[in-house]
């Protein structure tokens, strides 16, 4: 169990630093690359939590598609080399305060509520279980999501097309 905690620590540190990078960097492409680190870290955390399938879905969809889309959009809108001025607005200080307040409150709540809960894992979740859940219990949401995806696809094409 020690190994897992060490792994968690390293991953968590990397994720937080990279997340700060996403919101602080002055270079849009760097932000997307920091996002990759956060997402890969999250995938690794899922593996720690025995959710293998979700982890690889995360890699395939998030890193393999969403971030690519981001980079694509950035490059299509002429991402300049080097740093950009004016990526942030002037609400920096209030935002920091609000963020710290939020994190503080949440942490206090979590410590209060779940501090004695421990995760005990013996084996990774079989993918078949997830499949059973999706297609037996959550089949209606599954179909709803399918239609949403289709709508998003059509919507994106309609938006981006010039007539």
């Amino acid at each position: 169990m020690v190994a897992q905690n060490v792994a968690f620590g390293i991953l968590a540190l990397a994720m937080v630093l990279a997340a700060i990078g996403v919101v602080r960097t002055q270079n849009v492409v760097h932000a997307a690359l920091y996002l990759v680190v956060v997402l890969a870290g999250a995938a690794a955390q899922y593996i720690l939590l025995a959710a293998e399938f979700v982890a690889w879905v995360q890699v395939l969809i998030y890193i393999g598609a969403v971030v690519i889309l981001f980079l694509f959009g950035i490059m299509l809108t002429r991402a300049p080399m080097g740093d950009l001025e004016g990526l942030n607005n002037r609400q920096g200080l209030p935002a920091v305060v609000a963020t710290l307040a939020l994190i503080g409150t949440l942490t206090a709540l979590l410590v209060d509520a779940f501090s004695d809960q421990e995760i005990v894992l013996d084996a990774p979740t079989p993918t078949a279980d997830i499949a059973t859940q999706v297609f037996k219990v959550y089949v209606v949401p599954f179909e709803a999501v399918s239609i949403l995806l289709l709508a998003a696809l059509v919507g994106a094409i309609v938006l981006a097309r010039r007539d």
């Binding site: 593996i47 395939l60 393999g64 598609a65 490059m75 080097g82 990774p124």
Partner: protein
């Protein structure tokens, strides 16, 4: 088995496996793939150059190439984003090596037998796009940027037929574990006759073709090599790379080709399995059989690569969306219906 939750010997085990992945696999992939394919290509194209160095069939060519790349000056363009520029080839190469982790070479010869092996392989192979985009953007070169954008659009488009082609196999085998798929083929039977098992190329022939075509596109090889089109974009996203960084891309290219060939061999040709051979014998013969099957697939892929012209970007997208994906979907549906019916 949970990759990070292995008990005590995991450190030692991981180190051994890391050595295997980092030394044996790429070296093997390179030496085998590069030498075999280069010679094959030289014969096909009446090339004299690669057949010359060292005498017999130009055996020195590979070593000479390596030395050449290593002694080249490492140039980073002035305007380039140095960190991203330096990191990009590594991302591509890492994505390549990660695929080899799940490919079984024998009943026990596998770095990690993941429950979702195929899915994992395809997921990590999509990471290389990030490296490509990084390289294209960080080079501060318009040709590189256009190449990277083309590569990204193409890799996203062909990810779908690739996945869907594999889905047919997964449905038939009933598992996503590569080891499971191999044994499903080894222990399978064709109409009750189990003489050669049931290599899925027989039942999933459409899937096999789709997989090869999509893999060709994922590898950005002719006829889908618009991103690196040397006659217009010079070398696309690689245009500013020299020396060992270029070598990294090169290793990534041939390594990924080998990896996809190995995946195709495992998914459709039965992988390491030889009908009737089990246990330790299979462990010993498995790698050899896998390499032979892999080479057969690679031969096919490179034959196409050295024969065909390239498709234009819009034609290539139309092929993916209008031809390959519908066929793949029909294939999945038919496979599912038959699976349920039987």
């Amino acid at each position: 088995m949970n990759a990070l939750a292995v008990e005590i010997p995991w450190g030692v085990l991981l180190a051994i496996k890391a050595v295997v992945i980092l030394a044996v696999v790429p070296l093997g992939a390179l030496v085998l793939g590069y030498t075999f394919l280069l010679k094959m290509m030289s014969h096909m194209q009446s090339r004299l150059g690669p057949m010359d160095p060292g005498g017999f069939h130009g055996w020195f060519q590979l070593i000479g190439d390596g030395i050449k790349f290593l002694q080249k000056e490492d140039i980073v363009p002035d305007e380039a984003d140095r960190r991203v520029f330096a990191l990009a080839p590594t991302v591509v190469v890492i994505s390549t090596f990660l695929i080899f982790v799940v490919i079984p070479a024998g009943p026990r010869l596998q770095v990690a037998n993941l429950d979702v092996g195929v899915f994992y392989a395809l997921a990590v192979s999509s990471l290389s796009v990030i490296g490509v985009l990084m390289a294209g953007w960080a080079s501060a070169n318009k040709f590189a940027l256009i190449g990277a954008l083309r590569a990204a659009a193409q890799l996203i488009a062909y990810e779908l037929p690739l996945l869907l082609a594999v889905v047919g196999v997964v449905i038939q085998a009933g598992t996503m574990s590569l080891q499971g798929i191999v044994s499903a083929q080894q222990d399978g039977a064709i109409f009750g006759w189990s003489g050669i098992g049931n290599p899925f190329i027989l039942t999933q022939f459409v899937g096999f073709l789709l997989f090869l075509i999509a893999a060709q596109a994922e590898l950005t090889q002719t006829p889908f090599d618009m991103p690196v089109a040397e006659s217009e974009l010079v070398a696309g996203y690689m245009v500013e790379y020299t020396g060992f960084r270029f070598l990294f891309f090169f290793i990534g290219e041939f390594g990924t080709a080998t990896a996809f060939a190995a995946l195709a061999a495992t998914l459709f040709l039965g992988g390491w399995s030889i009908p009737g051979v089990h246990g330790t014998a299979a462990d010993l013969l498995g790698p050899l059989v896998l390499v032979l099957k892999l080479m057969a697939v690679a031969f096919l892929m490179f034959w196409v690569r050295f024969t065909y012209p390239r498709l234009r970007e819009d034609q290539l997208q139309a092929l993916a969306w209008k031809v390959l994906i519908p066929i793949a979907l029909v294939n999945v549906i038919i496979t599912a219906i038959i699976k349920v019916a039987i």
